[in-house]
Symmetry: C2
């Protein structure tokens, strides 16, 4: 099979795959045991920047610092730490976040307002600023055009795997590359939670255009995943576009559409890596609701099912216990016609017209449930409202990881 010459090409390098980006990751002692915990990501030239931040009403200090800087639309660097969220730390924490950006600006010799900051980890603890300052100085010395992997490792918390990707789009006259790295496993949620993602591209694109592309892509990817129904005060997706591909700035037309498609691909893959790495997750479940009276009704049913601990433990137990799904649907608070509900596990109809399809269907469904990835489809039989989410099962490991985190 030959690949289509204009299909996007996966390339190595993560966030440093696009031209004109350098990155690094160091261990500065926020985490124990010399684990990488501080990352620096720098564009050689000033870049357009766009961002989508948490919907949680409690915002961590770095989010508060970034918001006015994102409005400026231009940035040079991002400094990120893991191991400490710098959230619920009051005025001192806000000063710490500003100092972290100022320190990075200082060692890089750039404007303080051109540095964005992000943190992830335990809420409520203060950053050990001496260590952070030392880490920033060392990270600046280690900046490299091959540093994407080190940066991707340094932003992780309970993740078991680093998450990075880069894709090159060659359909136009000029190749454009988009790179990305993300962290997140627990607290993943359709409104983006305890996740950070950093995207880079060498495309030339105005900040406002970049912001609208990013918003649409995030809604369709990171905002359509759910591990445990939680959001955090720190969630953030940032994108830097430095124009080093020297393309005509993307503003509309097929060029912009191709760019958005590549951004979507990068974010979709990162989002799937997050769900697959869900804390203790052993199943990746694509949950679809169709036939709802409206999109809003579809989403409510979707979330009621995706967040049901009983449904999620049944998936974990590979048990075609569709009654729990039906019960969760009934719990969504939307008007239903129970006698019209259908439920499929993979292609197997286990409920038709609100009634179980029998034990042989359940036996077939149980085979699907043994797969590591499967689809569950709820058809409400009422209208044309639809919604989809990627989620995972709830395992004993989830509890073990989260009961012992911090200790």
């Amino acid at each position: 099979m030959t690949r289509q010459s204009d299909a996007p090409l996966h390339v190595p390098g993560g966030v440093t795959a696009p031209k004109g980006f350098r990155a690094s990751g160091v261990a500065c002692g926020i985490k124990k045991n010399e684990q990488l915990d501080l990352a620096l990501l720098v564009s050689d030239v000033e870049a357009s920047v766009a961002g989508v931040a948490t919907t949680n009403r409690i915002k961590a200090a770095p989010i508060v610092v970034d918001q006015p800087r994102l409005k400026r639309g231009r940035a040079r660097a991002v400094v990120i730490n893991s191991g400490c969220a710098n959230a619920c730390t009051g005025a001192p924490g806000l000063a710490d976040a500003k100092a972290m950006a100022a320190e990075a600006a200082n060692v890089l010799g750039v404007d303080e307002g051109a540095v964005l900051v992000a943190s992830t980890g335990v809420i409520g603890a203060r950053l050990p600023m001496d260590r952070v300052r030392g880490g920033i100085a060392r990270a600046a010395l280690q900046l490299a055009a091959t540093g994407g992997a080190a940066a991707a490792a340094a932003i992780l918390t309970t993740d078991t795997l680093a998450k990075e990707i880069a894709v090159r789009e060659t359909a136009g006259r000029i190749a454009i590359t988009v790179g990305g790295m993300a962290k997140g496993s627990g607290m993943i949620h359709p409104q983006m939670a305890t996740m950070l993602a950093f995207l880079t591209t060498d495309a030339a694109i105005a900040p406002r255009t970049l912001q609208s592309v990013l918003k649409r892509v995030v809604d369709a990817t990171f905002n359509a995943i759910d591990v445990d129904g939680e959001t955090s005060p720190n969630d953030l997706v940032l994108c830097l576009a430095n124009g080093q591909a020297k393309n005509t700035p993307l503003a509309s037309g097929p060029g912009l559409a191709r760019f958005e498609a590549v951004m979507h691909l990068v974010c979709e893959r990162l989002a799937l890596m997050i769900v697959r790495d869900g804390e203790g997750a052993s199943k990746l479940v694509t949950l679809r609701v169709t036939g709802a009276s409206s999109t809003a009704a579809a989403k409510r049913v979707l979330l009621a099912v995706a967040r049901s601990p009983l449904v999620k433990t049944a998936w974990h137990g590979e048990d075609a216990n569709w009654g729990r799904t039906i019960s969760a649907i009934g719990n969504a608070g939307v008007p239903l016609r129970p006698d019209r509900i259908a439920l499929r596990i993979g292609p197997v109809a286990v409920v038709r017209q609100g009634v179980g399809a029998g034990s042989s269907a359940e036996a077939e469904a149980a085979i699907i449930l043994k797969q590591r990835e499967f689809t569950v489809t709820v058809d409400l039989g009422q209208g044309r409202g639809e919604a989809m989410v990627r989620t995972c099962d709830l395992s004993e490991d989830y509890v073990r990881i989260n009961a012992s985190y911090r200790s």
Copy 2:
């Protein structure tokens, strides 16, 4: 210490403690291994009846059968099975529920419409009606004025303990007794879930008055407990009042208030037994939200915290990780003033004005968290809205129980 002579008195006998009630519990083969799975509860004379049923939009067949019978306000008996919910079973399931009531009416020699029916267990399976009929016949033969305990045992599913209580009120000239039994452990929820409760009293009280008392009491007790945020199609609280105490019918004034207080006590104790028996639960947590801008806002924050798997696993881990609670509060979707939020674990303030109170406060809180029962108080500092719920932690055992249920 002498007890106050007019304080309510705990008495043995459960649902058969009030005058004029008999009950029984038998094993008819719905469950495996000769476990008790069918209960019969009968009043010697026609009784006032009141009921509060599930808010789940999917109603099990017995709920559908009971609703018009509850409207009549008079009943003689209740037949209950465990091991099979008779939910999502379509028209045949509805016929089964009716046949179950009809069979009980037949062996008891009472009107079919005077028999209520309830089921709990796996959703989607049909009742093995031959066994159910045999069970009803045997249960009728075993009816006894000491049968409360057998009935309480026969309505259980994943419960580890039978839940029954009876209280006698002697302040008036005539003693009035209220008995109760309940089942429920997983899927417990402020809107009453996967729980059944049956209350009996020898008080004389009109059906309409009984219904309004029951509604208020259920809202304040069973509807204020939460194990895992789920509701089921089968949830039901029924109360039979047969007048055999021969009191002047309770209609208003101090007599009715005392009766409501006793009903509240009975339901509160049963609700606490359910939470303490929460699937895999090792902690009983009383969660309070105060200082909200409204009661509705307080309830939203309450549920966001009570249903957060991260908060519940931190309780399980005895970790004073208050950041997860703050994050869950921010996730509730209500406007907040983060710098006014206070959080107490037991009496220990771990967050003041949105900021952590330090490691010595956390160490004190960790001692509280080692208790089997404790209180967590969230003060939003915004207004006078309040709400309270009893809930429990999330343990590996919860996952194990629910991943393997049915098998």
